[in-house]
């Protein structure tokens, strides 16, 4: 195990669904300002692991620490307040709301309005609205949706919806962003644009965890790769190490180890 400081640590995470052991004793440590990829064949337990990290599922065993704070028992919404945001494998936008309103919803935990100004809008209220709108416009520009602010989210193309979901998650001002299967349903150009945005986020100091079953994709962007198979940690290392590791190749190609 490396001794670099970690922004997120998990140790001994396990989760069972009935008789199915979806995640078995997985430990990981994610260094700040890096892209950490979790890969594995379909059904390897990647999404369950991500749901444990984001708090959607409670682990049966193990602990998680975010910036040395024990978050094992925190609910998903409480984790967001500590700077942990996520997107979903099956895109979950507010489809009936405008693109801008989707992003504005992401500012939920970051408003600076005295309580009484919620029922009597004053100067602090207007300043907060202006700040959120300006920041939302910046986020939409960042993901290339500046011109679509007033469109309904449900009217966007699949690739645009994926980008909007990331902009909405960024509106919570996360320090750790979890992205679930970013390439699903995207064409090659859209995937490249997405990866490029992820690299920019890393340059700005954000930590990103990507769950992905497409191994080639993560090789281009990840600093560390964790390979899962049948719920267990198969291997963790750099992309170059992963690509030549015999057990990883076996898991992906189905060959005998």
């Amino acid at each position: 195990m490396s001794v670099t400081p970690a922004i997120f640590r998990a140790s001994g995470l396990s989760k069972n669904f009935g008789g199915v052991r979806a995640v078995k004793d997985v430990s990981l440590a994610v260094a700040p300002a890096t892209v950490f990829a979790i890969i594995g064949p379909n059904g390897a337990g990647k999404s369950t692991l991500l749901n444990l990290i984001s708090g959607v599922h409670a682990p049966d065993a193990g602990t998680m620490a975010f910036d040395d704070l024990d978050v094992t028992d925190l609910s998903p919404h409480a984790r967001v307040r500590h700077g942990l945001a996520r997107t979903f494998q099956k895109i979950r936008l507010f489809k009936q709301l405008s693109v801008l309103d989707n992003v504005l919803a992401g500012f939920h935990a970051r408003h600076r309005i005295p309580a009484w100004q919620y029922v009597w809008h004053g100067a602090a209220f207007r300043a907060d609205r202006a700040r959120c709108r300006a920041e939302a416009a910046e986020l939409l520009t960042f993901v290339g949706l500046a011109g679509r602010a007033q469109a309904l989210a449900g009217a966007l193309s699949y690739g645009e919806q994926r980008m909007l979901e990331i902009a909405r998650a960024l509106a919570t001002a996360p320090r750790l962003l979890l992205i679930d299967e970013p390439a699903a349903g995207l064409n090659a150009a859209e995937v490249e644009a997405l990866l490029e945005r992820i690299r920019v986020l890393r340059e700005r100091g954000m930590t990103v965890i990507i769950v992905e079953h497409n191994m080639d994709l993560v090789m281009n962007v990840a600093d560390r790769v964790l390979v899962m198979d049948y719920g267990e940690l198969l291997f963790e290392g750099t992309p170059a190490e992963v690509q030549v590791h015999p057990r990883v190749i076996a898991a992906y190609l189905g060959a005998e180890p």
Binding site: S75, H77, L97, A105, H108, Y118
Partner: protein, 337 residues
């Protein structure tokens, strides 16, 4: 929409509020007989019930069929307090509002894992239980015999002005309509703040909302508290206005009538349910001649609205406005632009 557009929209709202205040001021001068003045007060009460319910159903997306219970709890708590312990009207009013808010929060906490049809059934069950308690706890509520001779709110003495006597129906209308307008303004400010964004997000998708840091359970409890508090306030006025309390006034059909006002007016807008409440209060008065057949007219109207104008009166007004402006209606769903 730019910030300047928002400032314009904000000013337009204040002109709308001012216009509503003027209309409230002249209505009793136009309708001078006690029959129509009585109907005006019923309109104002129903407006309170409908906008309170819309906050829960239209904005937070929680299908609540218990509004009749919160209405009744406000009425009975304030009246019984005054009868048994003798506090003045306004402290009793505050207690009635608080009791309704607390029961709304209790129902929401109890039904926290339920949504959609299941929440509708649970809240309907709450309305049935409340009705049965009012009917059968005879030592407290006098059951079906009812409570008679409830005094209207006491005269209001403002310094330097003659006292305002609420046995006069016009003055009572001003009081109730004034509170309805106040409730509207408070709810309007709330739904146009981040609170409105939060409730709408929870209505659209709770998993997504939680992923943005929203505590869905707490916000649903909050929505129920606000919606039932407004209904409780209407209940307090109802008791002083009618002078009589019987459980049948708060039977579950009242919940459906209020929901119909919200749907006909337009869920997820605040102005819509105001029109819906007025329409569904006044229309049955014109249909009195056909007796119970009016329930069929009611049901038919509701079906037609749901089929052909799911956004209700608010949607119709929006379409009409954009037709007048010569553009095609903008696609908006639910919330006001």
């Amino acid at each position: 929409m730019s910030n300047a557009d928002f400032a314009t929209a904000g000013r337009a709202r204040w002109w709308g509020i001012l216009a509503a205040a003027c209309i409230i001021a002249v209505l009793p001068l136009i309708f001078r007989d006690s029959y129509w003045r009585t109907n005006l007060i019923v309109c104002a009460l129903n407006v309170m019930l409908a906008i309170g319910l819309d906050f829960v159903v239209g904005y937070a997306g929680q299908l609540n069929l218990g509004q009749s219970a919160f209405y009744g709890i406000g009425a009975y708590v304030s009246t019984l307090l005054i009868m048994r312990l003798g506090p003045p009207f306004w402290p009793a009013f505050a207690c009635g509002v608080a009791a309704s808010a607390v029961s709304g929060m209790a129902l929401s906490l109890f039904a926290v894992r339920l949504r959609g049809h299941y929440l509708a059934i649970a809240s309907l069950g709450f309305a049935v239980i409340t009705y049965q308690v009012l009917l059968n706890w005879i030592s407290l509520t006098q059951g079906p015999l009812g409570i008679y001779g409830i005094a209207p709110p006491p005269p209001l003495a403002l310094p330097g002005l003659p006292a305002i006597d609420f046995t006069d129906l016009a003055n009572l209308f001003y009081l109730v309509a004034g509170f309805a307008l106040l409730a509207y303004m408070l709810l309007d400010q709330l739904v146009r703040s981040p609170v409105g964004e939060t409730l709408t997000a929870i209505r659209e998708d709770e998993v997504s909302a939680a992923s943005l840091g929203m505590n869905c359970r707490a916000w649903k409890v909050f929505a129920f508290a606000v919606g039932s508090a407004v209904a409780g306030g209407a209940g307090c006025f109802y008791a002083g206005f009618v002078g009589t309390l019987v459980p049948d006034a708060f039977f579950i059909t009242e919940s459906f009538t209020i929901l119909a006002m919200v749907i006909v007016g337009g869920m997820g807008t605040l102005s819509g349910p105001v029109f819906g409440a007025i329409l569904l209060t006044v229309l049955p008065e014109f249909l009195r001649g056909i007796g119970d057949l009016r329930l069929i007219v009611y049901g038919l109207a509701l079906t037609l609205v749901v089929l052909f104008m799911p956004g209700g009166i608010a949607q119709a007004l929006r379409v009409a406005r954009s037709r007048l402006a010569g553009s095609s209606p903008r696609q908006t769903a639910g919330a006001e632009p």
